[in-house]
Structure formats: structure tokens, C-alpha cells
Symmetry: C2
Subunit: 406 residues, 2 copies
């Protein structure tokens, strides 16, 4: 009988919507105008964000009616740029038939999206004990601040998000919120300093891009990221690589419905896993841990077999390690999580029982809120107690150094 | 006991290297100079092909010593453009330690690469009864002819390859070679005509790009390809979509070794499968069949679960069929094949026993030649007789309308 009462669900991938005061409360007076803040805007004509949100938004629009006449929305503005979709994909509590209409006002969303106390109530409803959330407006790995023209403001804005997450969000219930941070990615030294600063304040994980090349930054094959990886290893903070954090979305055709991209997003995690396993990262930093956030797990047995076979046949003439089988590196250094993944659960021994975690994805459309616990019970029906406990709770507590309080 | 003597191995994905006379024997005199032909060239300075071959070549070079001084090679020339690597990845019979050095002369290769009689002897050695081969110089789906400036020459060149395959290659042993054709992809009407012409001559399959958008052509969501799909359906010729035939390779980082791309190539087939299942193609042409050539099968259970779930939640607000579950379409219309894929074999019932075929990949580096039969016996050790027979032989005979002769 899986999911007995003493087994807690820990979600290693949820999302928070930043409340309007994250930056206005923390930036100095001189940056109040240029720093991120919420404004009202007629969005019937406008779509300013050029990142993944815009991509999702644009694709989502296909097959929907044209937007109606003047429509006031709450949007983020940052250095004069407009970032719409304050609540991109924040559809928890809506029926699938209502998806596709992202909330444009805080009042459209469940308060649990942006208020930690309301979030706790929503977690209770859902049977979830603890949660780790990713940013929304700054994007999964805070890459919006790479666009900042004023790097002093950008650095302060990164620190403001981290301080908000540590001092306000997670502080609301330190035994139920696992705090993670974002980095000033344009500066690896500064990023390392931010890791040490936040580790001292209790941070447990770092949101880091699944691939840095598409962001205009050096790859995992260079020495560029060594200060970051060293700091992460030393502070025992895993890197969470959320799918989509590279700024790349799996697109097939201009006319393809958004369903194609949603179904294929796990391939981003396959790319990242393969890239890392053939890179020098885990040789240089053998105790660094990486989690493929929201990537699913059902593909892992196939990919590990394929990677090992490629390594068997092709390592000789390439700049690839000759000694350690990539799947052995995987089991020591890479972790996955799932929401709905009967196939991955069925093949859990091929992946590694210790490498699998659960996630809720609140408040996004993949979430089963408020039925996560019932749904997960069904998913783990055939799994022995001890394994189910590892998957839903113990692996996350160990990886994120987040022991049970009581 | 799998693979009993009466079970024949049919490989649905092998490769032939065009002998030098394919086009010179068939093109009219006025095109002898501009049409594809073999020339000797110093390749120490030059790399002309801008397609996938060049991509592979360029990546393969990383981690290898710089090429030595003047090195004469046999290369294809077509309308003055140079296409090196006559035997790209034609490494059958070499040890993994020798990979990475593509043959640059016909004399570097096994004669079975370009000579059908020698191929039969290599198939006998390998325990393979029948084979279907893809082009090499024209690329998997003949897309090199999209580059042709003179479309009269390009059309004649496509027909020449098809006539070579039907009249010379497959004619050497009609019960052991399954002939497939390429299309003049720049013209759907002309492509349909070529399908009917070749069907009448005994062709059994069509090599078609896994994605047309990257080739500068309309997507599967448009009506553009209807003449091709209709002709394929009417002539009962499946479309073989070989991974890489879109001209796109899965690249992660400029410095990544080629191993990353090799390990990830199956994601191209995941893209194509998802694209097709959410497209109108199988609604318009319900009896059209598509094979994901060289794509592997171990990912299929994961992807089908993910696609169905996406369809469950996201079909309402998008231009996606509301009635038929994508995995049901898959089982009727899409087929996969494998070389090394213990994971896929273990999950064969989740994929569909009738949707799985075997391939040898001769003479490429993924091939287990000359030990394909022994290797496949090991791979199918736990599989009941009747299922093994379907996988290695019967599914291919049914899909490609290629009944046993004796």
C-alpha cells in the first residue's frame, strides 16, 4: 500500500508568481523607475516579451479567436521593456476546457500563486508537505536579467528575488518551503559570490539554465562556469535545470499547435543530460548534483542505454572520457522528477530508485492540484512502500539537504 | 528460443554508397558535365558540402589531429559544387578504435557498400535475408537535389537514382532487396508522378524528410504535400523518415563531441512522431504509413504517454483533433525500428508488437555487422517466438508489401 500517512509528498518543481512588491520593496530609490514593477496596460495591441513566454504566448494564440478590443492587464515593466503574462500558465484550479487563457491580473489567479500563506493552504488541500518553486517573471533560471542594460540594477534585481524567496516566501514556513536562488549569469565570479551569500542564509538549490549556449553564454565544455560549479559543489546546492530555461523550445512547424511543444519539452532535458554526461563537468566537480526539473523520467532508460552504447563505440576518437560509463556518472550526479509518468515509474529500477523525485508543478497546467496525492497514489500503486517513500520524499530531502523537521 | 532458422532477418534501414556510374550511365549527354559524377580532389584544404554531411564531418573532426598535407580523395561534384565523403560513416568491418576516419575512396570501403552482389555476400555473413537501403550522396531523402539550380537536371537525377535502385541494385536479387525511392521534393505534383511511375516498376517505399520546414518547404500542417501523401497511400508505399533527413542535427554546444549528436539523433524521430500525430496528415490519409527509420524504439512508450496526456489536457483550445487518442493513431500509422535497444524490446507491448521492426544499419557505425544475427538473438532472448518473428521479419513484409518468395 503506497503513500502511507507517514510518507510526505515533496514537490521539487512548483512555480511562484512574484507579487508586485518583490523589487519595489528592495531596490534603492534610484532604481525604482527602471527596476521591475507592475503597471496597467492595454494589451490588445501589445506583446513585448521576446523570450520563451512570448514564444509560448504566440503559439498558444493559434487556433484561438483574435483578442478583443482594449483590454487592461497587469504587466511587468523593467527598464522600459514590457513583460506581459504575469501569470503565464498559472491555470491551477481551472478545467482543461478553460486553458489557453493565461491570467492577466493577480485577481484572476489563485492567491496561492503569489502568497506563501495561501500556498500552504493549497498544499494542504493537495496533500503536499513541502515545495520548491521556480521564478515566473524572471523566467525559470532568472535569464530575464541577462537582458538588463544596467548591470548594477540587474545584479540588485537578482539579489532582490533571492532575498524575497529566502526572507519572505520560504520564511513563511521554513520546514515546508525549500528555497532556491537565481544567479547573475553574465558574471560567473559574481554568481559564485551570490551562491555563498545565499547558502549562508539557508538557500538549498540553484536554478541554472539547461543549456547556456542559446543565451549567448559559453557552454559546459569551457572553463567559464567553473566558479559557479565549484561554489555549488562546496555549498552542496544542486543545480536545477528546468526544461525551457535555455530559452529554446522544441518547435517543429510554424503551424504546429502548442500541444506539440508541450509534448516535446522533455527532449530539452534529454539534450541537457547528454550534453552534461559527455562534458567534463562531473570530472571537474564530481560531487556536483544536477536535477532535470519538469523533464519527466520515462525517457531515461532509453537515453542511458543509447548514451552508453554511443560511448562504447565512439569514445576512442573524440574528446570524451575513456574510463567511466556515462550511466554510472548519471546515477551519481543527475536526478529526475515526474508528475504523470507511468512509464518512468514502471522502469524505475532501470533509472535508479535514488535518482527519482516527485513534483507537483503548481500552478501550471501539468499539475493535478488539488488531487496530487490521490493521483500519485494511483501512479505508485504497484511500487513497494520503501521505494515509494524514497521517490516522493526521501530522495528530495537528501538531495536538497532538507531534513524532516518533526 | 528466439530466432529459429525459419525466421528471417529483414533490415528496414541500411545504406548504399552510390557507385560512380549511377548518373553518368543515365543522364543525357548535355548533363554529363553538370550532373553528379566522381572526381579526384585534394581534400586537405576543402570541404564543400553545406548539408548534414558537413555538419557531421566538422563535428567529427574535433578531437582529431589536423588533416595531413595534400590528400587525394574521390568526391562527388554536382553543378560545380563539391560533396566530399563518398562513404560518410561507411565503417562496417572496422573496429571502434578506427572510427572517425570516413573512407575517402571506394577502395577504402567494403565492396558491399556499392556493389549489390557483394552486399548479398555481406548479408549472408551477417545472417540477414533482406534489406532496404537509403541513399548516401543524395542524403537520406534525396534532399541534395533541392540544391540543384537546373530543375530539369535535378528531376532527371532523382529519376536516375530511382532507376538505379530499381533496375540495377534491387534487380540483382528481387527477393532480397526492398527498393525505395526518393522524390523531386521541390514539386509535389511531380513527386506524385514519380511515385506512380516507380510503383509500377516495383518500388516498395519512399524516403521522405522527417521534417520539411528546415528544408525551406511547407510543413505537414499545410495542404502542400497532399498529392504526395495521396499517391503514397494509393500505391501502399510507406514514407520512411530517416533521422537527420530534415537536415537538422541535435547540437548542444559548439565544443560538444560528435557523441552528443549521435546519442541524441533519436530526438529527431520524437519530433517527427509528435508533429505528425498532432497534424491533420493521418485524418486526411488514414491508410498512410510512416516508418521512423533508425530512430530507435525505447523512447516510444514514454513519448506516447506524454502525447496522450498533452492531448487530454490541451486539445480543447487548439487546432487539434478532439476525438481520436494520438496513441491509437500511432499504432495504426507509425512504425519504428531498432538495432540495439534492450529497453525498447523490454517495453514492446507498450509500443505495439506490430509496430516494431529490426534494422542492421550496414555499413554505418551503429551496425553490428557481421554479427547482426547473433546480436539480435541476444537482444530477443526473452521474447516469445511468435513476437520475435513478427519483429524481425513479418512486420516488415506486411508494411512494405514484400511477401516471402519461397
Amino acid at each position: 500500500m503506497p503513500l502511507q500517512d507517514h510518507m510526505h509528498l515533496i514537490s521539487v518543481d512548483d512555480h511562484l508568481i512574484e507579487p508586485p512588491n518583490v523589487w519595489t520593496d528592495r531596490l534603492p530609490r534610484k532604481f525604482q523607475e527602471q527596476g521591475p514593477r507592475i503597471v496597467e496596460m492595454d494589451m490588445s495591441q501589445n506583446s513585448g516579451d521576446e523570450g520563451l513566454s512570448a514564444l509560448l504566448l504566440e503559439t498558444a494564440r493559434q487556433g484561438k479567436a483574435a483578442p478583443a478590443a482594449p483590454k487592461l492587464a497587469e504587466v511587468w515593466t523593467y527598464e522600459g521593456r514590457i513583460y506581459p503574462n504575469i501569470g503565464l500558465n498559472a491555470v491551477a484550479g481551472k478545467k482543461p476546457q478553460e486553458y489557453g487563457m493565461d491570467p492577466t491580473r493577480y485577481s484572476d489567479m489563485l492567491p496561492g500563486c503569489y502568497d506563501p500563506v495561501a500556498r500552504l493552504a493549497d498544499m494542504d488541500l493537495d496533500g503536499v508537505e513541502a515545495t520548491m518553486s521556480f521564478p515566473s517573471f524572471p523566467r525559470f533560471a532568472g535569464t530575464v536579467f541577462l537582458e538588463g542594460k544596467d548591470k548594477e540594477l540587474a545584479l540588485l534585481s537578482v539579489k532582490a528575488w533571492n532575498d524575497f524567496h529566502l526572507d519572505e516566501w520560504a520564511a513563511a514556513a521554513p520546514d515546508r518551503f525549500i528555497p532556491q536562488i537565481i544567479l547573475p549569469l553574465w558574471d560567473p565570479q559574481e554568481s559564485a559570490k551570490e551562491i555563498y551569500r545565499c547558502a549562508a542564509k539557508g538557500a538549498r538549490a540553484i536554478s541554472f539554465p539547461e543549456n547556456t549556449v542559446g543565451l549567448g553564454l559559453p557552454s559546459f565544455y569551457t572553463d567559464h562556469w567553473d566558479p559557479v560549479f565549484r561554489a555549488a559543489e562546496e555549498t552542496k546546492m544542486p543545480l536545477n535545470m528546468h526544461f525551457g530555461s535555455s530559452g529554446k523550445a522544441p518547435m517543429t512547424s510554424p503551424e504546429a499547435p502548442m500541444a506539440v511543444m508541450i509534448a516535446l519539452f522533455g527532449t530539452n532535458s534529454m539534450y541537457a543530460t547528454t550534453d552534461l554526461l559527455f562534458s567534463p563537468v562531473f570530472y571537474k566537480f564530481p560531487d556536483l548534483k544536477v536535477a532535470m526539473s519538469e523533464g519527466g523520467i520515462g525517457w531515461m532508460p532509453y537515453l542511458l542505454e543509447r548514451i552508453d552504447l554511443t560511448w562504447e563505440k565512439h569514445r576512442w576518437y573524440q574528446n570524451v572520457n575513456k574510463e567511466i560509463r556515462p550511466s554510472d556518472i548519471f546515477r551519481k550526479n543527475i536526478f529526475g522528477c515526474f508528475i504523470d509518468d507511468f512509464e518512468g515509474v514502471a522502469r524505475r529500477h532501470q533509472i535508479g530508485i535514488e535518482n527519482i523525485m516527485w513534483e507537483g508543478d503548481y500552478p501550471h497546467s501539468d499539475s493535478n492540484w488539488p488531487n496530487s496525492r490521490q493521483y500519485t497514489e494511483k501512479l505508485l500503486q504497484e511500487v513497494p512502500d520503501a521505494e515509494a517513500h524514497q521517490i516522493v520524499e526521501l530522495n528530495a530531502r537528501r538531495l536538497y539537504n532538507f531534513p524532516r523537521a518533526n
